[in-house]
Amino acid sequence: MKNSAEMKDGVFNRLYQGKALPVLMIVSIIIVAWYGFAVWLNAPWQVGVYERAEISDWTASQFVVDTLNQKRPVLPSAHQVFVEIWNTTVLKNPTSRRSLLYHAWITLSATGLGFAIGSILGILLAVGITHSRAMDKSTMPWIVASQTIPILAIAPMIIVVLNAIGISGVLPKALISTYLSFFPIAVGMVKGFRSPEQIQLDLMYTYGASKTQTFWKLRWFAALPYLFTSMKIAIAISLVGAIVGELPTGAVAGLGARLLSGSYYGQTVQIWSALFMAAALAATLVALVSLVERIVTRNLGAQIIGAQTKGAN
């Protein structure tokens, strides 16, 4: 940073100049709004509770505290969700079925496998589409069409069909992730493989380079920035795919299963903590892709690759 020398060391100065303050602001606004909504949405039930118990001398502060600590609230309060997450992660053995980490791991393994298959499939499709006009014309419309089908509609069928031919376990779920994640990879990589400038392709032609050489020495590297961008989208929707894959199948484990059992038994706190776990997982996965991107980019010249192909002046 250029102005680091001018920066003062005080905590307030650092807060003021850094990103922390705006982030804290937004978070506190969300939390305040959350509690507001929680009181509002849980109020009718609480009134009913007081009526049934024939308590009439309740105070406003007691009412607020009670709405925020219901067992099955319409909207759980932030601290209830936090306590639930704490209890089901830190205080539970990660291998236990009651641990949220265990369920997160189940979903994560399907996500990872589906993402890996989806990435490879997407890249292979893009290679074919880039090199074959026939394939470009014939497969591209199908690829686009595949994504217009609601995943919720097709997920149970994938599971049922695969079960019928003897494939069960993590793979059917992973394939639903694949179904979603191959798309951004394929589309992004087609663009990436076509991103070299004509002058660079001419250059390879004058060298008498084969298609394979042009691919590995030019197209692949030119496409890398596109690959990482699409991978960030793909890994997030892989997670969505894995969770959705758990919903219609009556899965007993995984974040999707937690969501499902939570909704069966009206355990809204459990639903919300599973949702937060899913969000944290998605953020971590995207951050992981970003990290790999940074490492690869650094090894390829410490500069935003693909940004500079013409003269500097």
């Binding site: 004058t206 060298y207 008498g208 020495k217 500069q303 003269g311």
Partner: protein
Amino acid sequence: MSPVISAKKLSLTFKTNDGPVHALSEVDLDINKGEFISFIGPSGCGKTTFLRVVADLEQPTDGSITVNGKSPAEARQNRDYGYVFQAPALLPWRTVQKNVALPLEIIGMSKVEQEKRTKRTLAMVNLDGFEKKFPWQLSGGMQQRASIARALAFDADLLLMDEPFGALDEIVRDHLNEQLLKLWSDTKKTICFVTHSIPEAVYLSTKIVVMSPRPGRVIDVIKSTLPAKRPLDIRETPEFLKIAHRVREGLRTGNAYEE
């Protein structure tokens, strides 16, 4: 001795939505070994197209052309020429050395030999010491020099240069012109050089081909009477100005200056 490049009634017509464009029309030209030929003319006169036909990047629609006695396609597959484009077109993820080694990697040369070659060609363009730099760390002039080193890597006897210094400022350009002349006299290569600058063409060439657009054709071929050794200030001698004048006249008769 047979010419390096020999074009006979060479024509190339592009089909466009606005009708056919006659980029080249019946061009007859022989280029001999060791010559420094400049192609000059306004845009659309076919000078770049001619170079691209020689390099097998475009296919002529009529007439014939040979490069080293072969068809352009055979010459290209035989790596008979090096081509320098208008932009350096260095691959940004490769170091300067790796960029220069790219054509050598493609022909499957051994790593040791690659290293020797790149070292030598980088020295030829005065870029020794910059092997490990990335393209974005170099100035525009240095980038273009790196791309010339890359074109020299095959050590082909023919060098095709398409307005290589067009994007550079005058001072850098003068400097590179001087270096290019030295390189040419050291290596005795045949150089085809496309430009739209009259002083550049006259300063560099042993022969200047003046071209005119619509249809692209050769108006005049001027043999330079300047000595082989040319300091930069030769550009103020009457001899130089006489040739420059003839080039300008050629461009004028070719209606090159029409509005």
